[in-house]
């Protein structure tokens, strides 16, 4: 076959020859207007994902004997989904320490005032330090709003049964506030478990937020009080106040998950309708053993100590290395690092991508050393 489109075949050839001069002309004739330095989507991205930033602590409020609310002024506007967390970090001694906290304030407060607050319970290294030492005016670094512990209108049922224990109430407080201000649209029945009445943080505010879309049921385990339910959050209780057609969201300590898992199984909701916020990987219960950890960051090499009881991330933070840290539960992949050599154990389920395991990548936030270890880690983004 000889292809021909024009009456005379040579005209097809001629057209081919003209393509280059035509394109050269088009490129040369366009205006010399300076190119944009950013685009409209970038400006919205900056609000949704501002990246690691410095923020000032502006207010500390005591909520219960062991819980305080910390409010930060951000460098600009931020928008997030109620239920998401941010990493809060600070230099403590020689360490660059951080911890993820669910945002307790509402999305529109962040969007309109550039302000967020988190509730911190006195427990563990960083939270304990915050509780005892942080003061207004101090500067902290704060990460992007992150995580998947938020409502999804496509996936979830119209009614969410929230089960909260301890400081696990904070993401639900944000959700209740979001429902009240109209930045989220679903019904939330919150089952808030605590030992005694005085351990109920944010009670006054939660009571005020109650509406046709938000209800709160307090459940005390160590105190009999006719105003409240007593014991733990059971399937029966969820059904009584929220019905059976619910999505269950849980946030709290592992012991609460263990109990609630068994209870929710009775409602036969399946994985789709039961969602849990992950907890940070804790120290493991093994004999203290010291290892050497060699860390490559770009073209620098650091040699630091690691302890078999602590994660590789903790070892690097103790040494003051600026390394990526976000969920601290092995799931977000932000600390994705290349293992050059060494033996290790992953805490809990392996949440890496399949190819990561194949090519020797690990998430230091959920990985304990079982020998000396050599790692290549992406540079951290903490402003220095």
């Amino acid at each position: 076959m000889k292809f021909k489109r024009q009456i005379f075949g040579f005209m097809d050839l001629l057209r081919f020859k003209k393509m280059v001069p035509l394109r050269a002309k088009k490129l040369a004739e366009a205006p010399a207007t300076p190119l944009p330095t950013s685009y409209r989507v970038d400006r919205t991205v900056k609000i949704l994902h501002p990246g690691m930033q410095q923020a000032e602590l502006t207010e500390i409020r005591q909520e219960t004997p062991d819980m305080k609310t910390f409010t930060f002024r951000l460098s600009g506007k931020m928008m997030f989904r109620a239920g998401e967390y941010v990493t809060v970090g600070h230099k403590i001694g020689d360490s660059l320490a951080s911890r993820p906290y669910a945002i307790a304030s509402s999305p529109l407060t962040a969007l309109e005032k550039g302000e967020i607050s988190v509730g911190i319970k006195k427990a563990g290294f960083f939270s304990g330090w915050m509780f005892d030492n942080a003061k207004t005016g101090d500067k902290f670094f704060i990460g992007d709003p992150s995580g998947f512990f938020h409502y999804d209108g496509v996936r979830d049922r119209a009614v969410v049964a929230g089960i909260a224990g301890g400081s696990g109430v904070t993401p639900f407080l944000s959700m209740a506030r979001a429902i009240a201000e109209g930045s989220e649209d679903f019904s939330l029945v919150l089952f808030y478990g605590a030992r005694t009445e005085k351990d109920l943080a944010y009670k006054e505010e939660l009571d005020k937020l109650c509406s046709d879309k938000f209800k709160v049921v307090y459940v005390l385990s160590d105190e009999k009080n006719e105003k409240y339910e007593s014991g733990f959050v059971t399937a029966e209780l969820v059904e009584k106040y929220a019905g059976k057609d619910v999505s269950v969201f849980m946030c709290g300590p592992q012991a609460m998950f263990d109990f609630a898992d068994k209870e929710m199984a009775k409602l036969d909701l399946g994985g789709k309708y039961v969602r849990k916020e992950s907890n940070c990987v804790a120290a493991r219960d093994v004999a203290p053993t010291q290892y050497k950890l060699r860390v490559h960051i770009r073209d620098e090499v650091f040699e630091v100590n690691a302890d078999a009881r602590e994660t590789l991330l903790t070892a690097m933070e103790r040494a003051g290395l600026n390394v990526p840290a976000k969920c601290r539960a092995g799931g977000c992949g932000y600390c994705h690092s290349r293992l050059i050599s060494g033996k290790y154990t992953i805490a809990g389920a392996d949440k890496r991508r399949v190819a990561d395991a194949k090519f020797g990548f690990i998430h230091p936030c959920c990985t304990y050393p079982d020998s000396d270890v050599e790692l290549e880690v992406p540079a951290g983004e903490i402003p220095q």
């Binding site: 292809f3 489109r5 035509l22 950013s38 685009y39 989507v41 999804d152 496509v154 994985g271 789709k272």
Partner: protein, 507 residues
């Protein structure tokens, strides 16, 4: 100051391949990537019990060992083929355009495809055969041109690749009309147009035909570990060859000297790297818009002449039932409102009217990609305008949900399968997501559009014309091979080898 023969900016598909070519050519290479992962779009992510593919529908032009394509040959040369486990894609595509009564499952294999077309459109055989003949000639001509690095003798071309030259200046529709392709066959054949993102009055025939013929005659492949496996394999190869890769490292400026040529790169945080050669795996808009202090006017005019191609949107679903239980029959679907690509292109300009989707159920190619009793799907569309630039931060989540619902409804109504009640995990990427991770203007995923005057043929012939700044070359979807996985790999191959030549010339 640290010194490298070449710095590659961006560890996308083009950047990674370019880095390997540079290393194979003996250069000392630094690859910097602003994200903490390699790949650009070629990555994956975990949600619950699912690991989603971020972007790859099917890798074209790789083929099985016994019928290897150009990408396989390239990967062999790069030394990465055997680092990756591959699985074949079962069928070419299922095209559904309900409003035009079209529902066609098209197979791989030239004869099988022609037969299936004849069954759909009796009397189409001759025209479809003519299409394949032209397409094969196009492929042969392109192979010859590549072997000569784009510098070819025009009388030789006319004599030996006449049909390529004669069709080369025309659009898909112009050529198909000339070979008297029946209308319905044309509509079925044009189904892949959304993979290249320009409508068929604009899209050049040679570009489209060479893609289609590679798909149909060689089949398509998928890495089992998602495209992340390819990206990690390429990175491993870069390290084996002595290259350095720095993640979370954004290149902010390209430094130029008195001659206007490249002298170095400034990284975010202020560190300077000395080099006389940069390969930018990003758009000229970004490089000339904010990475250089002195920008040649010609480069600004050239960038302003271009048109951004489609901005990406992808919904990922993890389903708590198997593909069989859900009634998802095929691996990849094209669901259109109309097969008039010009009209369809117009509808894709607004969030309210865009209902096109290219949808994949990976389990139909690789059943083990998700746990037993589950399925994983991704639904992709393109916006042919900056419509997402209008969406405010406050309305963002709501808008994502609206489009997600449009996509689910369309899939259910066009295919008859039921997925909505089985959604265990959902993630949605919008143009903002692509802008955030990859830095492309307006969240584009297809580079500069293959407009009538700016198609594959003139771009390949004008590589030196487009090389405006000494020491600066481009790889990836904005460069000479246009967008798509295989094209981006080839762009890295070409630009990497050209830069090796540049370095050698300097001595």
């Amino acid at each position: 100051m640290d010194k490298y023969d070449a710095v590659v900016i961006g560890a996308g598909n083009g950047g990674m391949v370019a880095a390997i070519r540079l290393l194979q050519g003996g250069a000392k290479v630094l690859l910097v990537e602003k994200h903490n992962l390699p790949g650009g779009f070629a990555t994956s992510f975990r949600r619950g019990r699912f690991e989603f593919e971020a972007s790859l529908h099917e890798l074209n032009d790789f083929g099985p060992k016994e019928n290897g394509g150009d990408v396989r040959a390239l990967f062999d040369e790069l030394g990465v083929t055997d680092k990756i486990e591959w699985t074949p894609i079962p069928d070419a595509y299922r095209l559904i355009c309900k409003s035009e009564g079209l529902d066609a499952l098209m197979p791989f294999g030239k004869q099988a495809y022609i037969n299936a077309m004849e069954k759909q459109v009796p009397g189409s055989r001759k025209a479809t055969e003519a299409f394949f003949e032209l397409a094969e000639q196009t492929r042969a001509a392109q192979a010859y041109t590549s072997s000569k690095n784009g510098v070819v003798d025009s009388s030789y071309m006319v004599k030996n690749h006449g049909n390529y030259v004669r069709t080369g200046s025309y659009s898909v529709n112009e050529v198909l009309d000339s070979i008297k392709m029946p209308d319905k066959a044309k509509r079925i054949l044009n189904a892949y147009w959304c993979y290249l993102g320009a409508h068929c009055d604009d899209l050049s025939f040679s570009h489209y035909a060479s893609m289609v013929v590679r798909y149909i005659t060689r089949g398509a492949m998928m890495p089992k570990g998602r495209s992340h496996e390819i990206s990690l394999a390429l990175c491993e190869r870069i390290r084996e060859l002595g290259g350095e890769i720095w993640f979370n490292t954004e290149a902010e400026k390209i430094l130029t000297g008195a001659d206007g040529g490249v002298e170095g790169v400034t990284l975010k945080g202020g560190r300077q790297i000395k080099t006389r050669h940069v390969i930018a795996n990003c758009s000229p808009h970004v490089v000339y818009g904010r990475m250089m202090d002195k920008v040649p006017e010609r480069a600004v005019r050239a960038a302003n002449a271009r048109k951004f191609a489609g901005r990406g949107f992808c919904m990922f679903l993890g389903l708590n039932k198997s593909a069989d239980e859900l009634g998802i029959e095929n691996h990849n679907y094209f669901l259109y409102d109309t097969m008039d690509s010009v009209r369809q292109y117009e509808l894709m300009k607004s969030i309210d009217t865009n209902r096109v989707q290219a949808t994949v159920c990976l389990n139909r190619a690789y059943p083990q990609c998700s746990p037993a009793g589950t399925a994983m799907m991704y639904f992709t569309t393109l916006y042919m305008s900056d419509a997402w630039g209008e969406v405010t931060a406050r309305d963002y989540a709501k808008t994502k949900e609206k489009v997600a619902n449009i996509m689910i409804d369309r899939f259910e109504s066009d295919t008859g399968s039921r997925i909505r009640e089985s959604i265990e995990e959902i993630a949605v990427a919008t143009p903002l997501t692509y802008a955030r991770y990859c830095g492309h203007p307006e969240g584009g995923i297809y580079g500069y559009e293959s407009q009538y005057w700016d198609g594959l043929n003139p771009r390949l012939q004008m590589m030196e014309h487009d090389h405006i700044t000494r020491g600066l070359r481009f790889a990836g979807g904005y460069s000479m091979r246009l967008s798509g996985y295989s094209s981006a790999y080839f762009s890295g191959d070409i630009t990497g080898r050209q830069t090796v030549g540049d370095i050698k010339k300097e001595g």
